[in-house]
Amino acid sequence: MTRNLLITGALAVLLQVGGMVAGLTLSPPEQHMSDLVRIMFVHVPVAWAAMATFTVTLVAAIGWLSTRRWGWDHLLDASLEVGVVLGVLLSVQGSVWGYPTWGTWWTWDPRLTSVAVMVLSFLGILALRAFVDDPDKRASWSAAASILAWGSVPFTYFCVKVMNSLHQKQTPWGAMAPEMLRVLLLNTGTVTILTLWMLVARYRLARVELQRELDT
């Protein structure tokens, strides 16, 4: 890891810690959800970051298939892995929030299910990447599989939505107390920065790994 990357990484981590401390202390408890609302300050930003990362995967997949530039494959590799990490974290946070508010750890809610399906699909594609030795094929195959996985997301969402829905409606920004909104925005910023950093670091790692593979 280069020095610049290390320094920016340390900064991103510090910012994130600051955001979380603010979430635990600065915001007042909410009147209906009491202190549980604090989970939202880490849950909602991670949800946004996970969605954004999943979308990056789709863009990278299309990018590779249409240009064959290795940068797209590195980005695909990076976003698959970061997406899985964020998606798993998102599901755990959701569970921890779900139990005290809905009385259940897991429920077949459209958003929950879509994220779970996406994470599982990406996990499968990461496994595929691990089991294919030819870099060219690995790139094309995982790009094709990523696009296919994306084709299934809207249907997952819709199917489960029709079956049942419990998940909270998104609170409109205006309806939130300004102290809370500020903390939420702060955390959205810090999580976004950290995610970007992880993508950059993983991208570079992918580049180094490919180089190493081609050398041997």
Binding site: M1, V13, M20, M33, V42, H43, V85, V92, V96
Partner: protein, 44 residues
């Protein structure tokens, strides 16, 4: 809105703990893998 619990703090800590753990572990794994040996034992 409060369903089955009276004390929300354990859940808050669990959520923040999980976040710290997951992101922390991933950052460490990124760091380990970007060491020259690649974090694997196949060092030449």
């Amino acid at each position: 809105m409060m369903g089955v619990v009276t004390d929300p703090w354990p859940y808050v800590w669990a959520a923040y703990g999980a976040t710290t753990l997951a992101l922390g572990a991933y950052l460490v794994s990124l760091w380990v893998r970007s060491q020259p040996s690649g974090g694997t034992s196949e060092e030449r």
